[in-house]
């Protein structure tokens, strides 16, 4: 009984919980901001990179290699390292405008660099899943390679990868917490400060609740899309 009380007192004490909420919420708004901007950037950049990776012909080889090097590098490097390198390294370069950004800009940059690498692979899988006969049909009608990608391949690919794409975004949302290491006062960091000052943990639980509340709807929405597609594909099979 005592132990249970101890657990409650340490993690869920309503008074501390309430007291920490304004701070944690203020921090969480930064998480939201980083998440929204990084996701928008990732959506566009990753698609461009995936298209570059699929370009045909020997002339495009250097571009393809560049895209491969990029994805290999940023998929293989832990986000926390990228955050350190961008967050501390770039300001240290003293390159005027580039080196004088708000720390949150470096945070968003680190998130975008890493997640673009992941999402490029997702898009690429989608593009490759579009049957070659679709390209053959489009090219046979006199559409150029670019038109075929724009109107026939990419729209079908994007539709197919929405569930895994949203899955990666759940990861991105949580990883905004890592950006605290370069001094962005986001939810985790403020919660931790509060926790240290008060020697209890409800503030951290509060931060966790915010993250969970954000990801659950996205996860359910993803499930819904997957189920919807399965239903449609079954309907087509008959």
């Amino acid at each position: 009984m005592h132990a249970l009380h101890q657990v409650f007192r340490t993690f869920f004490y309503p008074h501390s919980f309430r007291l920490s909420l304004p701070d944690v919420w203020a921090g969480f708004q930064l998480n939201l901001k980083m998440m929204v901007i990084a996701e928008a950037l990732v959506l566009v950049l990753a698609l461009a990179l995936a298209i570059v990776r699929g370009l045909p012909g020997p002339a495009a080889r250097p571009l393809r290699v560049l895209a491969i090097v990029y994805t290999d590098f940023f998929r293989g490097t832990p986000l926390i390292l990228v955050a350190f390198i961008v967050g501390f390294g770039v300001p240290g370069l003293q390159l005027g405008y580039i080196s004088n950004q708000h720390v949150i800009v470096y945070g968003i940059t680190a998130l975008t660099l890493v997640y673009t690498a992941y999402v490029t692979e997702v898009y690429r899988a989608g593009i490759e899943s579009v049957h070659p006969s679709q390209r053959a049909a489009a090219r046979s009608l006199g559409l150029t390679y670019a038109q075929t990608m724009r109107y026939v391949v990419v729209p079908q690919a994007v539709r197919r990868v929405i569930p895994p794409l949203l899955n990666d975004f759940v990861g991105l949302q949580k990883d905004t917490a890592i950006i605290s290491v370069i001094g962005v006062g986001e939810a985790t960091q403020l919660a931790q400060q509060f926790s240290t000052q008060n020697n209890d943990f409800p503030s951290l639980v509060a931060a966790a609740v915010f993250f969970i509340l954000l990801t659950i709807p996205l996860a359910r929405f993803t499930d819904h899309l997957v189920a919807e597609r399965e239903r449609r594909e079954r309907a087509q099979a008959f």
């Binding site: 006969s133 679709q134 053959a136 049909a137 489009a138 090219r139 046979s140 009608l141 006199g142 559409l143 150029t144 038109q147 109107y151 026939v152 729209p155 079908q156 539709r159 087509q236």
Partner: protein, 254 residues
């Protein structure tokens, strides 16, 4: 070569192609005059589809030459997109774009590659769809249509670019038997209107009815060619006789 009336619209000479070590086309010579219908018959894997796909440069050839409307299509300077506006192709599996409505399927190429305005393309598309009795399906997605309807839309999609020759690659092979006739009726109508066509087909009765010339392909070669009457009633080659006997047998069983 000039494009006057006496030269065949599609001319193939000594065309060979390999997939790795497999010789899929072996010195093909074929002439298709304007307004003619040529049927390619032969077993699966005999090279019929590959032959068609070489004519619109979906496949490259290793040897020989192909001219379409007097133009060398193996010329590296050739703009394939211009060639493909002249050469329509319809596939066995329809290959409609599943994320677009019927109308969008038909208008995409005219708008983006044919210089049509949106209104112009849609007007033309609706006219074509009306001709095949599918105007009411213009705003449906392909998966709401039967196979026969989808294939007719695919034909109309090819026609919307105003091609001068139409390549039909076993366009009824994926269809339920009761849906075959509606597609063949449309092809018959096109043949009567003077469309130059090359068909790869397993429909022997239909080939006999519409073809000006029938070619029997075997292992990448045109083993025998002639009028439908000659090929179907007195084939010279034993392989042709064998093939036709097998097809007839299969048709009886079906």
């Amino acid at each position: 070569m000039s494009s006057n009336g006496s030269t065949p619209f599609v001319h193939m000479q000594g065309v060979s192609k390999w997939f790795g070590s497999l010789n899929v086309l072996d010195h093909i010579d074929l002439d298709v005059p304007e307004h003619n219908v040529v049927c390619l018959i032969g077993a699966s894997g005999s090279g019929k589809s590959t032959l068609l796909r070489c004519i619109n440069r979906l496949e490259r050839i290793e040897e020989g030459e192909i001219t379409v409307d007097g133009q060398q299509i193996t010329d590296p300077k050739l703009d394939v997109n211009v060639l493909r506006r002249k050469v329509g192709i319809v596939f066995q599996a329809y290959n409609l774009f599943p994320h677009m409505t019927v109308l969008q399927n038909v208008t995409l190429a005219p708008r983006k590659a044919g210089g049509f305005s949106r209104d112009g393309a849609e007007g033309q598309a609706r006219g074509l769809l009306r001709r095949i009795g599918l105007e009411a399906k213009a705003d449906e997605y392909p998966d709401r249509l039967s196979g026969g309807q989808q294939q007719r839309v695919a034909i109309v999609r090819a026609l919307a670019m105003g091609p001068k020759v139409l390549l039909l690659d076993e366009i009824t092979s994926a269809l339920d038997p009761q849906l075959v006739s509606e597609v063949l009726a449309l092809v018959r109508e096109l043949a009567e209107s003077g469309m130059t066509m090359i068909l790869a087909t397993h429909e022997m009765g239909f080939a006999r009815e519409v073809a000006d010339k029938v070619c029997f392909l075997d292992a990448g070669r045109i083993l025998e060619e002639g009028s439908p009457a000659q090929i179907f009633t007195e084939p010279r080659e034993p392989r042709t006789r064998e093939f036709l006997a097998r097809v007839l047998e299969a048709e009886k069983l079906a």
